[in-house]
């Protein structure tokens, strides 16, 4: 008996249509997420991972057409009006972005921005909201929190700004946190701090989290489950350890092999041949087939279905590598 999932997405599709383009960016994505779980959407440019996540809160440009079903804590996102969505954005789900300088308003102090959000959603007094803002800044480990409440975004360093943005996202106690490559723009020593912070906050507050990243290392550090995306579709999903150790889809395997790992010195790197997909001109069959070394006639003819290959693992491939290796 399936219990009520916090996030339930069924056959989500997003198409960008305007005078200049007509492109299927997300093509039939389905997944569910329970409270406290961390799902990582892993993919490269053009995979549709960012659009998928933004579709959950309908933070898409006006020329995006959404199809399918999205249920967030019982709210039907696709059917809601813009006004109703405002009650969802913040208290139910909040998002943190890659570039904190553009996500934070430069003319207001951090304290004001956080308190304003709290007042808008929880209708408490300004004093209580400021007190809560202070608590939040301490929770995200910003030193001298009291002083920083009155700081403007440009007065903070990159790492502190990112922490402030996390505090802003957590201000309304969301059940779901959406993170759009939050550490890509940070230095290595700061990135690890922020990832550890997110991990501890997620565990402490019991939030479900969806992380979008192109970096396998980030996925390894934070995720419970990974969904690998290519050309707008899921090509593989599974628990992080199993997927990393034994990838089933040729794309995942290629991605892992071509990532430069610690200790690699000299020599040629394995790479995936070909170019990233052109979403405007997708081949009829499997999206990855043009670049896949294992492709055969049935791959080009029809898009494979997402099938279960092992406990809790799904792959979109007629001959998944997992099956090959276990049968060998």
């Amino acid at each position: 008996m399936p219990r009520e999932h916090l996030v339930e997405v069924v056959d989500l599709s997003v198409r960008f249509v305007n005078r200049d383009i007509d492109v299927q960016v997300v093509d039939g994505v389905s997944f569910h997420l329970n409270a406290g779980e961390v799902l990582c959407l892993l993919g490269e440019s053009g995979s549709g991972k960012t659009v998928t996540m933004r579709a959950l809160l309908r933070l898409l440009p006006p020329y995006a057409r959404i199809g399918g079903q999205i249920q967030l804590a019982g709210h039907d996102i696709v059917a809601m009006s813009e006004r109703q969505l405002e009650t969802v954005r913040g208290p139910v789900a909040a998002m943190i972005f890659q570039e904190p300088m553009t996500a934070l308003d430069p003319v207001f102090t951090i304290g004001t921005q956080i308190a304003e959000t709290i007042v808008a959603h929880e209708h408490v007094s300004w004093r209580d909201a400021r007190k809560r803002a202070f608590d939040l800044l301490e929770m995200v480990q910003i030193p001298s929190a009291a002083r920083r409440l009155d700081a403007f975004p440009h007065e903070l360093s990159g790492g502190l700004r990112q922490r402030a943005m996390i505090a802003l996202a957590l201000s309304c106690r969301p059940a779901l946190l959406l993170a759009d490559e939050p550490t890509t723009a940070l230095d290595a020593t700061v990135q690890i701090q922020i990832l550890l912070l997110l991990r501890s906050l997620q565990q402490e507050l019991g939030m479900a989290t969806i992380f979008v990243t192109h970096d396998i290392g980030v996925a390894c550090e934070v995720a419970d489950r990974i969904a690998v995306m290519y050309a707008g579709r899921f090509v593989e999903t599974g628990p992080v350890a199993a997927l990393i150790e034994c990838p089933a889809h040729p794309y995942t395997a290629g991605l892992l092999r071509s990532t430069v790992q610690a200790g690699s010195h000299g020599g040629r790197l394995e790479s995936i041949s070909g170019y990233p997909p052109d979403l405007a001109h997708m081949p009829p069959g499997c999206g990855f087939a043009p670049r896949c070394q294992y492709r055969q006639a049935d791959c080009i003819a029809a898009n494979p279905e997402l099938n279960s290959v092992a406990a809790d693992r799904m792959v979109r491939c007629p001959r998944p590598l997992l099956a090959v290796s276990t049968s060998a």
């Binding site: 490269e44 440019s45 030193p143 360093s157 990159g158 790492g159 502190l160 230095d187 290595a188 020593t189 700061v190 990135q191 690890i192 701090q193 990832l195 550890l196 192109h214 970096d215 396998i216 290392g217 980030v218 390894c220 550090e221 995720a223 992080v240 350890a241 990393i244 290629g254 991605l255 071509s258 990532t259 430069v260 790992q261 610690a262 200790g263 690699s264 010195h265 000299g266 040629r268 790197l269 394995e270 790479s271 995936i272 170019y275 990233p276």
Partner: protein
């Protein structure tokens, strides 16, 4: 430019390089300086790949631009294969014929109004080549980087993927047949699968065209993969320099160790449990006195605030600027260390 001094003579020798950027107050008066690069020195040997790592504000990009004389240094000397730049030695124009740069794949690394061929041919025409021949040479460069000139020659940057744009960037860099190619975060913005392709391409080109590379990156794994020697910078200073294997296996400077430990684990079973460094890289406008790392260093002592450490040999060709590992510095940890060979 022909090889002059043989393999033992460094291709590029830098001493005392300094660049401060003035910050102006509201009335135009200079009230502070960003100490972007503060008296650094190093060599680039012929045929090697020198990796340069450091975080934002460390000065690695400024150093690259100083080497190319895109920015005028405040002090310091750059010597190319035995000849100094300027003062009767090599002119800046000749320098630029021999040292080229490949930029990060930002949208603005290629002129949006120029096709790939036009962009590459520009540099050739600057140095006197006729238009038709420049076009030929540009096509040859495109072929060398794996792009078919018939398909890509007339394309504009927005019609190419990130990897393709970066190949055009590389083609532009090698078109003038330089001896040294400075790669400033050239693969950082690329997808990992494309990054691997471009790194392979760079390795091929280095062998085929007898190039020397200076590879600047914040990604330590990539630097380990490509570099023969590595230079670690922090706030305008060089903290450590040495053979890649030596640095990655036996890093001596606490900052280098922290950088290496900040790498993500790639193994979900063994996640990083604690951040090696707290806080952010400090402001290059008012760096800490003495050793610039002391405000974040767990080994900091009084001597670190008083005296700035100099680069010292601790192993063969491996130098570190840290009191804690330099015998005779006055640091408590240094007392037990015997003098290095």
């Amino acid at each position: 430019m022909r090889d002059r001094g043989g393999p033992a003579q460094p291709l590029l020798s830098v001493t005392g390089l300094r660049k401060y950027f003035p910050l102006r107050g509201p009335l135009g008066n200079v009230n502070a300086h960003v100490q972007a690069v503060d008296g650094i020195g190093f060599n680039v040997m012929k045929g090697e790949t020198l990796g340069v790592v450091g975080e934002s504000g460390c000065g690695k990009s400024t150093t690259a631009r100083l080497l190319m004389h895109l920015i005028e240094p405040d002090a310091g000397e750059i010597v190319m294969d035995g000849d100094p730049i300027g003062q009767g030695g090599i002119t800046v124009r000749e320098l630029r014929r021999n040292v080229q740069m490949v930029f990060q794949d930002s949208y603005a690394s290629l002129n949006p109004r120029h096709s790939a061929t036009t962009e590459i041919a520009f540099g050739l025409k600057v140095h006197g080549m006729k238009a038709a021949q420049a076009r030929q040479q540009a096509h040859a460069a495109l072929r060398l980087v794996g792009l078919d000139p018939d398909l890509f020659g007339d394309r504009y940057p927005h019609e190419m993927s990130g990897g393709q744009r970066q190949r055009v960037n590389v083609a532009r860099g090698i078109a003038l047949n330089p001896r040294l190619l400075i790669l400033d975060e050239s693969v950082s913005a690329l997808d990992k699968s494309v990054q691997a392709q471009v790194l392979n391409l760079l390795a091929d080109l280095k062998d085929r065209l007898n190039l020397t590379y200076m590879f600047i990156s914040h990604d330590l794994n990539v630097v380990h993969h490509v570099a023969d020697r590595v230079l670690v910078m922090y706030l305008g200073k060089v903290f450590e320099i040495g053979p890649a294997d030596s640095i990655y296996a036996k890093a001596a400077h606490p900052y280098t160790k922290a950088l290496l430990a900040s790498r993500l684990s790639m193994n979900p079973a063994h996640r990083v449990s604690a951040a090696p460094l707290t806080g952010d890289p400090p402001n290059p406008v008012r760096p800490p006195s003495g050793c610039r790392f002391r405000s974040r260093c767990t080994l900091a002592e009084t001597i670190c605030a008083v005296e700035e450490p100099a680069l010292n040999d601790i192993a063969v060709a491996h130098q570190v600027a840290c009191h804690a590992v330099t015998p005779g510095s006055g640091h408590s940890l240094a007392r037990g260390i015997a003098n290095a060979a």
